[in-house]
Symmetry: C2
Subunit: 135 residues, 2 copies
DNA sequence: CCTCCATTTCGTTATATGGCGAAATATAGC
DNA sequence: GCTATATTTCGCCATATAACGAAATGGAGG
């Protein structure tokens, strides 16, 4: 019961739902999620922690950068089905569509703008290997 | 997006999840749910309101008694799939199993004990037509 | 070692939420 | 009309939660 409640509670916040949807099919770094959600870094970090504790996402550190992606094939059936449910239920949602467009732009703007947004004069995120713009 | 969040938020509480599970395949009256959840009548009423607003359940009044059941075939795909997800994810859950056993007993004890529990010297709930002990 | 940078953790604050009891409302029977 | 009863609504309270900024931590490079 607790694992199911961890999932439902993790999904009970709009920012976390939106984050999960843009994580579909790609790995993103915290800095990209911060840009996307337009929240403070500490807030995004906490949201990611909640999603991770519910096992909805996996995180891996690459140098200074922390990447997150949706739970993969090793995930429990409950997790997999919850993610599938979210995806199906919000496929035609206007917010989700607008988010997808925004995220595409964020991935394009990439390095210079991205980290610079959060702290002036910051060194850009390096390009990662999994997705364009992901460190 | 709001309807999906209404669903996820409704599922983010253990009592509401447990109520949904015992509503599977049966219609129950508030008094039975009060007995089952061991919460105050006002609390159960509020939980049911949340579930109803998320369209996860339907309610209908029968005289003084209010019956609730899971959303039926008219429900949205998101609602249907969320309920199915819950059912599948908690099929073997010990809490859910214990709850099912308890609810079977509550249905058996029926009228005399049920309403009497909540207010001494109360008239028993009349027997309903949909399930044993449901008004 | 240092400085710089990304992220997490911590503490605070405003708001939301789950619980209760009391009051209000709705229904039944006389 | 009345009384009795089931349920909902309201108000209150304790706790949880989402947001923020500051501090702490972890990693990179010199």
């Amino acid at each position: 019961m607790e694992s199911v409640l961890a999932i439902t509670r993790a999904l009970a916040d709009e920012s976390r739902v939106r984050a999960l949807l843009v994580l579909d099919g790609r790995e993103l770094c915290v800095c990209q999620l911060i840009e996307f959600l337009e929240l403070a870094p500490s807030t995004v970090s906490k949201h990611m922690t909640i999603l991770r504790q519910a096992r909805l996402i996996d995180g891996r550190k690459k140098g200074r950068w922390m990447n997150y992606r949706l739970a993969g094939e090793h995930a429990s059936p409950a997790v997999k089905e919850a993610i599938a449910w979210l995806r199906r239920s919000l496929t035609n949602d206007p917010v989700a569509r607008r988010d997808a467009t925004r995220m595409a732009k964020i991935l394009k703007t990439g390095r210079e703008v991205l980290c610079g947004r959060q702290n002036a004069r910051r060194k850009p995120c390096p390009i990662g290997s999994t997705a364009a713009g992901t460190p």
